[in-house]
């Protein structure tokens, strides 16, 4: 019973991935629909897995590496589902679900880290962390979409089309989907960061508290805003903007891992 939700989540994500692959390789609509349903089942099971663990540890899910990565995977799945429904486009599932599954498994296999003792808790703090991780998930999604764009564009320009090309989303749709994700990421990271400052202010009576994480977050913000701007301009629209989006996510990963673990004073796993 202890691992029920864990097993259910892995099974649902795994089967969803298989269905999405089947959809991509055979074009069968039913396989695509099953992929979506299984992903939704996985999201629900994943939620209960997070809830169960939080109750067991008497803490929110993001106070250790496990919880933080798992929450990231869950929000990535949720964001992708939203995007899939909004744009009515399933063929991206086969490329996104591996990341969801990977982060979930890595979280589970990660060594049991210590729980970071935070000096204060509360709604502002909870939203600060959740919105920040949601922003990372949205940026993660735009990263995957940009990679698909670059691969598909390469195939189209090389005239070496193969079978899969006829099932991939159109290039313009991929660009729009990527930009939608980045907008979600930017909005959530701005609100999340503002809430973080509010929380620091309440805790220490001043916002003038330096953390290298601020710099990393500011850089992420600026570069994604630049991506949104450049993706619509003459010189950058298309492949160049997509490459920038891929680069930006590398920076996000850097901020999420190296900056948190080695430089930041108050950010560990988010």
């Amino acid at each position: 019973m202890a691992h029920l939700y864990l097993i259910l989540t892995v099974a649902a994500y795994g089967l969803s991935l298989a269905s999405y692959f089947r959809f991509l390789s055979t074009g069968k609509e039913t396989a695509g629909r099953i992929g979506t349903i299984l992903l939704a089942v996985g999201v629900v099971a994943h939620y209960f897995a997070l809830l169960e663990r939080s109750r067991g540890l008497h803490t929110v899910p993001y106070h250790d590496l496990y919880g933080s990565l798992s929450l990231f995977a869950w929000l990535l799945a949720l964001t992708y589902l939203g995007l899939e429904v909004y744009h009515r486009q399933r063929s991206v599932g086969a490329f996104v679900v591996p990341f969801i599954l990977l982060f979930f498994l890595v979280a589970h296999l990660a060594p049991a880290g210590r729980i970071v003792e935070t000096p204060a808790r509360g709604v502002a703090f909870a939203f600060h962390v959740t919105l920040s991780i949601l922003a990372y998930a949205a940026f993660g999604l735009s990263f995957v979409l940009s990679l698909i764009f670059l691969a598909e564009q390469r195939l189209l320009r090389s005239q070496n089309l193969g079978a899969v090309i006829w099932r991939l989303p159109p290039l313009e749709l991929l660009e729009r989907m990527s930009q939608s994700s980045v907008i979600v990421g930017l909005v959530t990271i701005v609100i999340g960061t503002a809430l973080g400052f509010l929380w620091v202010d309440r805790l220490q009576g001043t916002m003038l508290y330096y953390d290298p994480k601020y710099l990393a977050t500011l850089l992420v913000l600026v570069l994604y805003a630049a991506y949104l701007f450049l993706a619509r301009t003459a010189a950058w629209r298309g492949a160049r903007a997509s490459k920038l989006c891929v680069f930006n996510f590398v920076l996000v990963i850097f901020s999420f891992t190296a900056v948190n673990l080695f430089f930041s004073h108050s950010h560990r796993y988010f």
Binding site: L161, W166, L171, E172, A234, G238, A239
Partner: protein
């Protein structure tokens, strides 16, 4: 409950014959009504497309006789001599007729295997026939099955998923880049045949704006009227290349008409908006070196032909899978048909058994003379009960077991075994 099909298609008849035997909507309705009024068919449906004219029906009498009458009717309806029409006509009965229709709706019998239009044409023919009261339980079931098979083959196989002609490959490529084309602009250079086919497909996809450019202004005007587009004077490259998302070129020219520098300048003016160039000219109309310009996608006739070749090879692999789906649905339909016929046959058999029992008791009355009337009545009731039990069990089984219905699809054997001609349902 037998099914007859008489018709002709692109494989059995040249276009001169096909066009003489095709039906307009009104003619189809009239023919179906006449065939029923004359007692040639009880249920009727006419399927007429540019590649086939077929009449499906349920005859009241012998199926082969009806097929002959149907062929004669087709000759007279279209005023074509029977001997001129006969070599082109095919006749299919029951299983073969069902299988033929299911292959038609799946696109397996089409000139371009897997084409999507035929399913819509079958649906429309059924809608019209049903609306006019031409179909009954058999054809309703048959055509609903045909639509189901058509949908399944399209969703479960790759048969119609990929473009199979140069024109459709070009348009599908445009959709890979731009998505839906109803807000896009196309420029047509020249007036080659394949170019015209591409334009026809673009119009089917409701391309928002169409511009035409031709060396001959007169010809350009004619094409623009034909395509519903606007003319851009030849040589106005700045305007011509600033507008479109895709360019279809099929100009008769020994030298390229679109040069690298022209397109390079145009890309600056159009702020690097993606541009798809389809060069369908031989010799080529577009300088091949501009394929490496940023956000330019260049496809020539060979590249598009290669896409079609690959897709055809992939489609060949899908045909056996589609045939399996067709066979599965043919069995399903025949199983339903057998069950309906068997239930009808059992009803007739039951009536006959009752008559036999009454006759039997009348003949043996002398042997039963020593029984009291109540006892004789009891014997009659017991016999009825026994006979009912004997007949009820198979009837119940037939209703419940699909596999049993499959096994006894050849009802004729059972009918011949138990009933004489007069009693056949």
């Amino acid at each position: 409950m037998e099914i007859v099909l008489v018709g002709l298609n692109h494989r059995t008849a040249p276009v001169e014959v096909r066009e003489r035997v095709s039906f307009t909507v009104e003619q189809a309705r009239q023919a179906a009504a006449e065939l029923r009024d004359r007692g040639i068919l009880e249920e009727t449906l006419v399927l007429s497309t540019c590649n086939r004219s077929e009449v499906y029906g349920v005859p009241p009498e012998d199926v082969r006789q009806s097929a002959g009458a149907l062929a004669t009717y087709l000759s007279s309806f279209h005023s074509v001599a029977p001997e001129a029409l006969r070599p082109s006509l095919y006749h299919h009965y029951d299983r073969e007729a069902v299988r033929h229709l299911f292959r038609v709706s799946s696109g397996l019998d089409s000139m371009l295997i897997g084409e999507a239009e035929i399913l819509g044409q079958v649906r429309e023919a059924y809608r019209l026939a049903h609306g006019a009261g031409g179909t009954g339980p058999v054809l309703n079931r048959l055509f609903q099955g045909a639509l189901e098979v058509g949908k399944r083959v399209r969703s479960e196989t790759e048969l119609g998923a990929r473009p199979m002609s140069v024109a459709s490959a070009g348009v599908k490529l445009a959709e890979r880049i731009f998505g839906k084309l109803n807000q896009r602009t196309a420029l047509v250079l020249g007036a080659g045949t394949i170019g015209e086919q591409v334009v026809a497909q673009l119009r089917d996809r409701e391309v928002a704006h169409l511009y035409v450019m031709n060396r001959s202004g007169e010809k350009a005007g004619q094409l623009a009227r034909e395509f519903g587009g606007k003319v851009i004077p030849w040589g106005e490259w700045h305007e011509a290349l600033n507008l479109p998302d895709l360019v279809v070129s099929s100009v008769a020219s020994d030298d390229p008409v679109l040069l690298r520098d022209t397109v390079k300048q145009a890309m600056v003016a159009r702020k690097n908006r993606a541009l798809l160039l389809m060069d369908l000219g031989v010799p080529r109309n577009i300088d091949p070196s501009l394929a490496d310009l940023y956000n330019v996608y260049l496809y020539n006739l060979d590249a598009l032909t290669e896409i079609v070749r690959q897709n055809r090879a992939a489609r060949e692999e899908e045909i056996p899978h589609a045939e399996e789906i067709v066979d599965e649905h043919v069995s399903k339909f025949l199983s339903w048909q057998a069950s309906v016929e068997l239930v009808g046959m059992l009803g007739v058999l039951r009536a006959r058994v009752r008559e036999e029992r009454a006759e039997f008791l009348r003949d043996r009355m002398e042997m039963l003379a020593h029984f009291q009337p109540q006892e004789r009545e009891k014997i009659a009731l017991l016999m009825d009960e026994l006979l009912e039990k004997l007949l009820m069990r198979p009837a119940e089984q037939l209703r419940g077991e699909k596999s049993l219905r499959k096994k006894i699809q050849n009802v004729d054997a059972l009918r011949d075994l138990f009933l004489n001609d007069r009693e056949k349902p």
